[in-house]
Symmetry: C3
Subunit: 133 residues, 3 copies
């Protein structure tokens, strides 16, 4: 049993930018040498989220619209980016994924994506931690 970690770093282009990190996470799992276990994908920030779903342009546009409908842009007590925090709480900032034969056990239409929920472009880190055999 061992633990392996790498931190991804990238730039986002602005609010609701969505960055596919599937290949990077898969590559970290491969580098870990861990064949069987759990991979945690975690955003160390309060205004970003991780989703594990289909990377389809139209679906991601639908996601942006539904987030704006559920958590509108304005009307909050917290200054500036309350919507960013609230949307992050709904989507979640961490996802745990199973690993087998040294690969993520994702379904055909599952990609791992970072969702920038803050109100501006940012430098982002995502912690990828693999635990297993």
């Amino acid at each position: 049993m061992k633990v392996y970690e790498q931190v991804l770093e990238f730039e986002t282009s602005g609010e609701l930018d969505i960055v596919d990190i599937t290949d990077e996470v898969e590559s970290i799992v491969a580098s870990s040498g861990i064949k069987d276990g759990i991979c945690l994908v975690f955003v160390p920030g309060a205004t970003g989220a991780i989703i594990v779903n289909e990377n389809d342009y139209h679906l991601l546009e639908d996601l942006k619209r539904i987030l704006a409908k559920l958590v509108p842009n304005t009307g909050y007590a917290h200054p500036v980016n309350a919507r960013s925090h609230l949307r992050a709480m709904l989507l979640g900032n961490n996802q745990a994924l199973p690993v087998k034969n040294g690969r993520l056990q994702l379904g055909t239409w599952q990609q791992i994506m970072f969702v920038e929920l803050d109100t501006h472009a940012r430098h982002r880190k995502v912690i990828v931690k693999v635990v297993g055999d």
Copy 2:
């Protein structure tokens, strides 16, 4: 420390069918021989979710209605089943549960349920991975 995995397979009857898999997951934990650790329950698909809550008929009816209110059936760019994907993102496709003395540490009113969010009956797999001692 070890890692143990089994994959559940079952049929769903259609959109918003909810399947209680608590006994099956508990049985996998028992089979694992792991006494203390973490159990990951993961849907390898983009239109299913796992909830850990009360298996009460009326509550599940309430859940179906609130999902339809938050993410209505129509009005999306992604064809056919956008609602399925969006609802899956809100509920989550993975849940991590603690294990002690070879059993899940669930509360009295917590059952593990698969929620079929796709628009039709499907054959489903759920990956159950146990890591621990």
Copy 3:
């Protein structure tokens, strides 16, 4: 590799009371002696949630208002506390966090908070499980 567990216990003051447990969870991670791994924070109950976000008074007021908007207080089939269950499903009752150098790898604005979603004050338990090296 080892597994370590402690259970937090505390009283909540009523519906939508939010209790910051960051220091307690950090202290459990320190007690575990585990330097590198995963920390699971789990509510063994169907009407409580764990959020990992900014502990700011105004933001938490915004959270309470958005929960009331998304999942209104009344209009359900399940008696009394349907809203509590439904809100718990949206926010999630478990969060997995990375551990490094014997500490949680939280961002600057990330605190771990228990959200009381039931309709009254309660005695609560939160299971904290650490797996790693």
